[in-house]
């Protein structure tokens, strides 16, 4: 049985607790990276992380990209989104096709 987690600043992730996700409030990149590693090794299959934090964890996210589990998914935080999630999708297209052939 796998679990689902949400990492981000308190206000962004507390709401997820009520629908049954495990929440890990983290304000800075160092803490988030530690939590992320801990979760990945302890049976979490899906980890939602706010874009603010995700954009500071480039190398780590790259590492988990190539593994089947966990799926680390950036989501917008309470202070809005910085377009990183969409940029990630475009990056995937670029990797596969050679150039981003699917503009919005």
């Amino acid at each position: 049985m796998y679990k689902i987690a949400a990492i981000g600043d308190k206000d962004s992730v507390y709401g997820f607790a009520s629908i049954g996700l495990s929440v890990f409030p983290e304000e800075d990149a160092a803490g988030a990276s530690r939590v992320l590693r801990h979760l990945a090794e302890n049976g979490y299959a899906v980890i939602y992380i706010t874009e603010q934090l995700a954009s500071q964890l480039g190398a780590e996210l790259q590492h988990y990209r190539e593994q089947t589990l966990p799926a680390v998914i950036p989501i917008p935080g309470i202070r809005g989104n910085n377009g990183m999630g969409m940029k990630n999708v475009s990056k995937t297209v670029e990797q596969a096709v050679g150039s981003d052939i699917l503009p919005d």
């Binding site: 629908i19 190539e66 917008p76 989104n81 995937t92 990797q95």
Partner: protein, 224 residues
């Protein structure tokens, strides 16, 4: 023209011809694999973009309510309301094999039977906006899970497509031309050897005939 470093012998030629056949067949198979992967990938990526837009809009809406709830409730009250959830969600994972890429499939499982059992607090001491925030989050969660599934699949497939594309290109532009050139080189070299040995034989024959004639002549004149 690029040649492999081999001896121009008949055995090498047979070996290379066999390798060329294998390379051609591998190239065709890998090309088919790449095309099929690309087709599935493009479908998934379109869905990925659609889901992402949907999820981002949903979360934005939930966050609007959350901001209002935050502003009218104290930190402490909010903690009390949310930190002991009555619902707990876990995932069952099955694997699907798409053109030898293993992609995960998520099936959510809830702890309580009622999926609407999402309010872990009494309504008396909390703001109504918190209810809206929680409700819109619970509405968006199926899309979020699907997004996780699709986005992960896309990432895994992109890596596989990149690998396959490299292999196809290596076969098409390096291996196969190299084999072809080397086969041509060996064939030409062997033909050349054959021609040279034929010429040598003819030359020797000429020399032998000449010798015989000269011997005969010497015999004839010697008799006179």
């Amino acid at each position: 023209m690029s040649l492999l470093n081999v001896n121009p012998t008949r055995m090498e030629l047979t070996k290379l011809k066999r390798k060329l056949v294998t390379a051609r067949r591998g190239h065709k198979l890998l090309k088919d694999k790449r095309d099929e992967l690309m087709r599935i990938f493009l479908e998934l990526v379109r869905e990925n973009k659609k889901l992402r837009r949907e999820v981002e809009a949903g979360i934005r809406e939930a966050n609007l309510h959350m901001s209002v709830a935050r502003s009218v409730m104290s930190d402490k009250a909010l903690n009390v309301a949310l930190m002991l959830p009555s619902q707990s969600m876990s995932l069952e994972i099955s694997e699907k094999n798409v053109m030898s890429v293993i992609i995960p499939q998520f099936t959510p499982k809830l702890k309580t039977a009622d999926a609407h059992d999402i309010y872990s607090y009494g309504f008396a001491s909390t703001s109504g906006d918190l209810d809206f925030a929680v409700l819109s989050l619970s509405g968006i969660i199926p899309a979020m899970l699907r997004l996780a599934e699709v986005e992960k699949s896309c990432q895994l497939m992109a890596a596989e497509i990149e690998k396959t594309r490299r292999r196809v290109n290596a076969l098409e532009h390096v291996m196969i031309p190299q084999y072809e050139d080397t086969i041509k080189y060996i064939t030409m070299k062997l033909d050349e050897n054959e021609r040279s040995s034929t010429t040598r034989l003819m030359k020797i024959k000429d020399m032998m005939i000449k010798e015989v004639i000269e011997a005969k002549r010497a015999g004839e004149y010697g008799g006179v």
